[in-house]
């Protein structure tokens, strides 16, 4: 790397210019109202946490963590996600006061980028967590809320694909011989590398029956909606996984236009390793990347010595911006120009307009270098005279 240029920012860091910032503010306030009406409480957590606790419990890969050292020599991380800090607060304090607990956040998270400097390493995430509920009703609430939230925000065309981390693990484990094989196959599914998956099946030395069973995971012709088809591949103790999904599907069908928005795919696997139950990804036309994801992560609480059910989702605000229809927040912005003589008059006039919820900038006219250029930033420009009259 060469010498750092004066205007350069650290890799992956971005400024939000006024227009974009306004759009984010629109998303934040709309989402906040909607989510609060659903009974969720917003929460803030520190930007910096200990690596030993949050850093290790987080599902984000260690290589993506921003690390620093405090003056005691402890390793710190910039929070890579919000779910883990929220689990910490819930386990240490809030669950004792209220259980089940509904928490929401709008916060920036930090993930160092390996490739292509342009990708953001800090971005805002909007999400919610329902903690203290093991039931499918909780999962259904989360998915349903995600759908309604996107509609409220004005996202037109989006899809949610639902998988099940526990079911996938069961299907993989039943048809392989070692944990390493399970992990290798799962990783290929996370990458959606179907070619690699098939190759791996050949190389692992599995029985023909095992291979056939596993191939079903990546078969396009299989209708994942018919969960019954998967029962024969599960042991008796594992049947409850299908029951869970059946129940979730029934609940979703009651409220959602099922095939056009929500679909199931058991090969869906996540790089977020703390998911244990159902998990889902949200895709929207307009962004090449998933705009959000979520799922059930009961086991994360084991790390905080709690045994509770937890489910939630997070949406990336930067990707949301990409898929939202471009509607500039339109509001009239007036410029009042004054000189030495009209200073006081201009202040009075501006105050009156502002009380009327208008947006008014007051500016001493002689300070402006290029008046014509400056005027272009405003919808209306008025010059205040000594007597208080206005002219264009």
């Amino acid at each position: 790397m060469g010498k750092i240029q004066m205007f350069e920012k650290p890799l992956g860091m971005r400024d939000s210019f006024p227009k974009v910032n306004e759009q984010k503010e629109y998303i934040r306030s709309t989402a906040r109202n909607f989510i609060r009406n659903k009974g969720y409480d917003f929460i803030k957590t520190p930007s910096v946490e200990y690596f030993e606790t949050i850093g290790k419990a987080s599902a984000i890969d260690e290589s993506s963590l921003f690390k620093l050292v405090d003056n005691q020599g402890e390793t710190l991380v910039l929070r890579p996600d919000m779910t883990t800090p929220i689990a910490r607060i819930a386990a240490s304090k809030l669950l004792k006061e209220k259980n089940p607990l509904r928490l929401a956040y709008y916060a920036n998270v930090f993930r160092a980028q390996q490739r292509e400097g342009g990708r953001p390493a800090e971005f805002e995430q909007l999400g919610l967590e329902l903690i203290g509920d093991f039931s499918a009703y909780g999962d259904s609430e989360i998915i349903h809320t995600a759908v309604e939230l996107l509609k409220t925000l004005g996202v037109e065309s989006f899809r949610i694909t639902i998988g099940h981390a526990g079911l996938l693990t069961a299907l993989l484990t039943n048809n392989t011989n070692t944990m390493e094989q399970v992990d290798a196959l799962r990783q290929l599914l996370v990458e959606k590398n179907f070619v690699g998956f098939e190759e791996k099946l050949e190389n692992l030395g599995l029985l023909q029956e095992q291979k056939d069973n596993l191939t079903k995971l990546i078969d396009y012709t299989i209708d994942f909606k018919v969960f019954e088809n998967f029962r024969p591949y599960l042991t008796n103790e594992q049947q409850y996984l299908i029951d869970q999904l059946e129940q979730l599907k029934r609940l979703l069908e009651l409220q959602l236009n099922y095939p056009s928005i929500v679909s199931f795919d058991f090969s869906l696997a996540s790089h977020m390793s703390y998911y244990t139950g159902m998990l889902f990804e949200i895709y929207a036309a307009g962004s090449g990347f998933p705009i959000g994801n979520g799922g059930r992560y009961d086991e994360l609480f084991n790390q905080f010595d709690e045994k509770v059910g937890a489910t939630g989702f997070g949406i990336r605000v930067d990707r949301l911006l990409e898929v939202l229809p471009k509607n500039d927040v339109k509001e009239k912005h007036t410029l009042l120009l004054f000189d030495e003589a009209s200073y006081l008059k201009a202040n009075v006039l501006a105050e009156a307009r502002r009380n009327n919820a208008e947006r008014v900038t007051l500016q001493f006219i002689a300070s402006i270098n290029d008046l014509e250029a400056y005027k272009r930033s405003f919808d209306e420009v008025l010059i205040v005279s000594e007597g208080g009259s206005l002219r264009e």
Binding site: R115, S157, F158, R159, T161, E191, K192, N193, F194, V195, G196, E198, Y220, T221, S263, E281, Y283, A284, A285, S287, G288, F289, P290
Partner: protein, 209 residues
């Protein structure tokens, strides 16, 4: 039916892949004469082809400006892009191997490897636990050992003819390469029906071959 955008690598792979599509029963224009065209329409199938440099195909697909792409496994291994790899098309088969002058050993003090594929080369030597210096070149890799820039090269081998003509021999095979059908993760969901049918039709033809 949604419009599908397919990013294709220019050159030989394009011809082979296009032929494969035609044989799979897609109703595509007979001939694409104008090689300078960057976008080719196939209105009957509502498909749009983007002609790109092979190295750029995964970029278009990752960012979703193309739903589908055809890319060599070499490019995918080198760039590690976030795309779904759905089918092995079994065209342009070749492999990546190390090569060098015959009967030579790696320099013990400063072993150097020249390649167009720095990531693949780095990973290969890392796995073997050998410390080497990787020198990235953009073409004519075979030159490197001949003029003493590097002890080994890591490059694509299809027939071995180029190596032979330049007096080089193959040392270790690293990985098999062929063209793959890649899909953008969001298109895979948002246009799922369309893409599944497309892939299934292609797969049928591949099984026949």
């Amino acid at each position: 039916m949604n419009e599908l955008t397919i990013a294709m690598p220019k050159g030989r792979i394009f011809e082979e892949a296009y032929q494969l599509f035609v044989e799979a029963g897609f109703n595509l224009p007979k001939e694409i004469n104008d090689s300078r065209k960057l976008i080719v329409e196939a209105p009957e199938e509502r498909i749009q082809f983007i002609l790109a440099k092979p190295m750029d195909v995964p970029v278009y697909v990752e960012h979703g400006v193309a739903d589908i792409g055809i890319a060599g496994k070499d490019v995918l291994l080198e760039q590690l892009r976030d795309v779904h790899e759905l089918l092995d098309l079994h065209i342009s088969n070749c492999y990546i191997a190390t090569a060098g002058l015959p009967n030579t050993m790696m320099n013990e003090i400063a072993p150097r490897v020249a390649t167009k594929y720095p990531t693949i080369a780095t990973n290969f030597y890392k796995e073997k636990g050998e410390q080497v210096e990787i020198i990235e070149l953009n073409g004519s890799i075979e030159l490197a050992p001949m003029i003493g820039l590097a002890d080994r090269i890591v490059d694509i081998v299809s027939t071995g003819q180029t190596l032979k003509e330049n007096g080089l021999v193959e040392y270790e095979k690293i990985v098999d390469i062929s063209s793959r059908l890649i899909v953008n993760p969001v298109s895979y969901r948002v246009k799922s029906e369309r893409i599944r049918t497309f892939v299934a039709q292609l797969k049928n033809e591949l099984i026949k071959r």
